[in-house]
Subunit: 398 residues, 2 copies
């Protein structure tokens, strides 16, 4: 049941792949355009966890788990097992093999024969994990539940969690396979608390990717931090090498927010209203008063409550976040008879306050609030990457 790169994908990678330096972090291969897939597997091991600055893949399967074991050594074993499985799956290998016919297969098998599809698995620890295991003193002061923002309608069943697993891949079956097999490996130690599927790349994370459109039909992520922005990553995303606690150095914080779009209301708004709300032209993505998507934003040229005006770093003490959200649709809301769809917002930043202050401003005044509703919320601290032979979380649990 070994999986291999399909010939076509290898050829495609050869044709369009291009090495891109990552400010000392490493080298990844990128597709030149939006239509092609980079076939090279993304290495799991490294100084940083993969899946944060990795050029955004097409699909997301996110899952938050609660830890049910009270044994720290079992928790350690879990992260060791998850690290091993995630690194194998990132290479396109099954999580394990056996000749035993009378035992359940170690790998569930649905990804056999598929390419690794640039799978990345990224782990984060929620504030609640630190209540136990003697971890109380290791909790970073910033790792606390996010405050309730104005207008939040949070569903506790889509919020929180002790450990986050963000599986991204260009093939949904590969992402599903990863979450399913990690859940299986974790049986007895964790139970899944909630999960979210996503598609599209509502924010590109590389200059090599075109800016995609969100489900409001607008380009989203034009001024996102890109993996090529080494300086901005160091300043805004990665926890510095001299920060405390030590275990989080080289890591980051992940914010997850399920943002439901009131699609039917939005679809009845005029083009003019929609553009005034966002602060960009719908077709071109150009900011108000400009011609091109990438022209500099002139805050004074747009309404005071336009989304991108309020979200601009200039309006937020020059703090920036790296967005890595996905569109979602969970079918329809049977109660309302409307499409249940929106943006599963994920951001990475080296201080949760960067998100909190931004979101406080947005929650108070953003014109977009008329068309959205935050229904889920979580915060996690993502440790640095693992060395071969080590495991993610070793700096905390080792």
């Amino acid at each position: 049941m070994s999986r291999k790169l399909t010939r076509g994908r290898l050829l495609a990678a050869g044709a369009v792949g291009a090495g891109v330096a990552l400010g000392g972090v490493g080298v990844e291969r990128l597709a030149a355009g939006d239509g092609e897939k980079a076939a090279e597997p993304i290495p799991f091991h490294g100084e940083r966890q993969a899946g944060i600055v990795t050029p955004a893949q097409d699909r997301l399967h996110f899952a938050a788990f609660d830890v049910v074991t009270s044994s720290k050594s079992e928790l350690r074993g879990l992260m060791r097992g998850w690290t091993e499985a995630a690194s194998r799956m990132s290479r396109g290998e099954p999580v394990g093999e056996t000749e035993q016919r009378l035992a359940p297969p170690i790998d569930t098998g649905e990804a056999a024969g598929l390419s690794p599809a640039r799978l990345t698995v990224t782990f984060g620890f929620g504030p609640t994990l630190f209540d136990r295991f003697g971890l109380e003193r290791s909790r970073p002061p910033a790792l606390v539940e996010l405050p309730l923002f104005a207008g939040d309608e949070l569903d506790p069943e889509r919020s929180g969690g002790d450990i986050a697993v963000q599986a991204c891949a260009d093939d949904p079956q590969v992402a599903f396979h990863a979450v399913r097999n990690l859940a299986r490996i974790g049986r007895g130690a964790v139970v899944m608390r909630w999960s979210q599927l996503g598609f599209g790349r509502t924010s590109s994370t590389s200059r090599a990717q075109e800016t995609p459109r969100n489900l409001m039909g607008f380009k989203d992520g034009t001024n996102n931090i890109k993996l090529e922005d080494g300086q901005a990553l160091a300043e805004h995303v990665w926890v510095p090498a001299n920060a405390d606690p030590r275990w989080l150095r080289g890591g980051t914080y992940m914010v997850a927010r399920r943002i439901r779009m009131l699609i039917e209301v939005w679809d009845r708004a005029s083009l003019d209203d929609q553009e005034q709300t966002i602060g960009r032209r719908k077709a071109s993505g150009a900011p108000f008063g400009r011609e091109d998507e990438f022209d500099p934003v002139s805050l004074s040229r747009m309404p005071v409550d336009a989304h991108i005006r309020l979200a601009a770093p200039r309006a937020n003490g020059d703090r920036r976040i790296l967005r890595r959200g996905r569109s979602f649709t969970d079918g329809m809301d049977a109660e309302l008879g409307q499409l249940d769809a929106g943006l599963f917002f994920i951001s990475y930043q080296n201080d949760p306050a960067s998100f909190v202050e931004l979101q406080q401003r947005l929650a108070a005044s953003d014109a977009l609030n008329e068309y959205i509703k935050h229904t889920g919320s979580a915060l996690f601290a993502c440790p640095p990457g693992a060395r071969p032979g080590g495991y993610v979380g070793e700096t905390l649990l080792g």
Copy 2:
């Protein structure tokens, strides 16, 4: 906001595309392998509706609508509008354009800039549609609600419907865009009753496609009817040119069944149990007692209750169906704390009895029943395709 084929995709199509004759039905371009995508848009118009024998795309957005208007001419207008929109979207065009800034945009815009991604939109009419509009006498006698099968645990909120829309594409955002815009065009005439997202191709529908694996990790659809099987299509799928009612000639019937897999139970079954249940080897897909996936199935070599033994055409009066299902995962079942995933089964056949008799046999004896649960069910009659200038359903409503 016009959409165009991306250059990379066109190049890929040029490299791997190959014309394949369809037994007189038409010619479609196919990718040679599993990894590449055929970039050529799939023509919407034709003798048959697209999306039935079209090589299965990667993603599905299925929606069942109830008709709320009581005016037959509104129903006619709906099908006319849907046909026009579907054919535009299949070419990668927005459903409409306007210079009006003070009106809502005609197209919601999230597919602007994306390739058509081989979008197909397939329509079907449910039995309940024929209770009104003077259509009582046009209802084919075979178009009645499917019987309740042993073990069915149907959710009425995932069953039935007056009109089915099956949107398939290689990009989920394109499939979502199609359903959303059709729902929008239909406002006032229809309301969405239920919907289902799917991924993967649990049954390939072309010899050019590798047999994919379902979420049980087994290859699924090895002996499916393929688009190259002109004779089998004529015999089992298309309603013959001399059949009654006339309006359905050249059409077919669509069965939709949401089949939940009890993933956790399956994952605890031994490899031996799993293979005895299916009747194939998990790794190779070979039937019992054989070496290769495509070796002929020898019924006597497998357990009497093995799935493929009971499902084999030989066991069912040589009747065959064309399967076009998708894997699904709707996240987790909060009540059970388990993954909510399985197979959204869709089959096409020129007589619903082909499915009913097969399913009666399976429901009674299939070893697989221990691991699955049917939770949704619907039957639709799919009219023939539309000529340019005509509309789908014209043979019934015109």
